[in-house]
Symmetry: C2
Amino acid sequence: MREARDSAAIFAALGDETRLRLVARLSGAGALSITSLTTGTRMTRQAITKHLHMMQSAGLVRGTRHGRACLWQLDQRRIREARQYLDAISKQWDDALGRLRKFVEE
Amino acid sequence: MREARDSAAIFAALGDETRLRLVARLSGAGALSITSLTTGTRMTRQAITKHLHMMQSAGLVRGTRHGRACLWQLDQRRIREARQYLDAISKQWDDALGRLRKFVEE
DNA sequence: ACTTTGGGCAACCGAATGGTTGCGTGTGAG
DNA sequence: CTCACACGCAACCATTCGGTTGCCCAAAGT
């Protein structure tokens, strides 16, 4: 199984309501600037910036300067990694249930 | 899409190395007591207890008293919910890419 | 009956989190 | 050129988090 530390970082990055909303928004819009991401959040631009940097250090998102704006977009690979981790957990769980059933039957 | 708050709680519960290890262990073993979960962690039993309670309040895990031991096991539904959330994000992302491509082509 | 063993509760602690404000800076629009 | 706009940086704050210690309780083992 994948290293627990890295996966934990991804999940931690997703484990905040504000950040999850940002991810949802980015997943539908492609790339957005910080100020446009700030509108509708009743939070400061700095708060959003912090969240974005946090997600970037987790590899969930990346931002590129474009003129005087800074456009941020998802990096979908990490999302896939997280999905795979959950898949592995589910599979292991199912296997364990299967073994248990087999054990009970014998 | 599902309420962001609940999903964030699930991801937050998964977003810690210790807890993720507990989940991995529980997914393979079925049901374990607190002390048996503590062995091999170089942490106090109380720390593990706190993590378990935290995960329980997120719906990830549930514990039932059994004699003087307390057995904890995964609740796989929340893991599925988390997977579905990530699936939705991925799908939305793919759709957005598709629209972008279409837009560029026209 | 006495002692181990598995666990709960509460207080305490340092460090990280989530958020704000204030100020400085480069870029682009008018 | 000038000014507004989008952003970065740093300090600061309250709260939460991850973890420990100490004490106590009840269930089992001997």
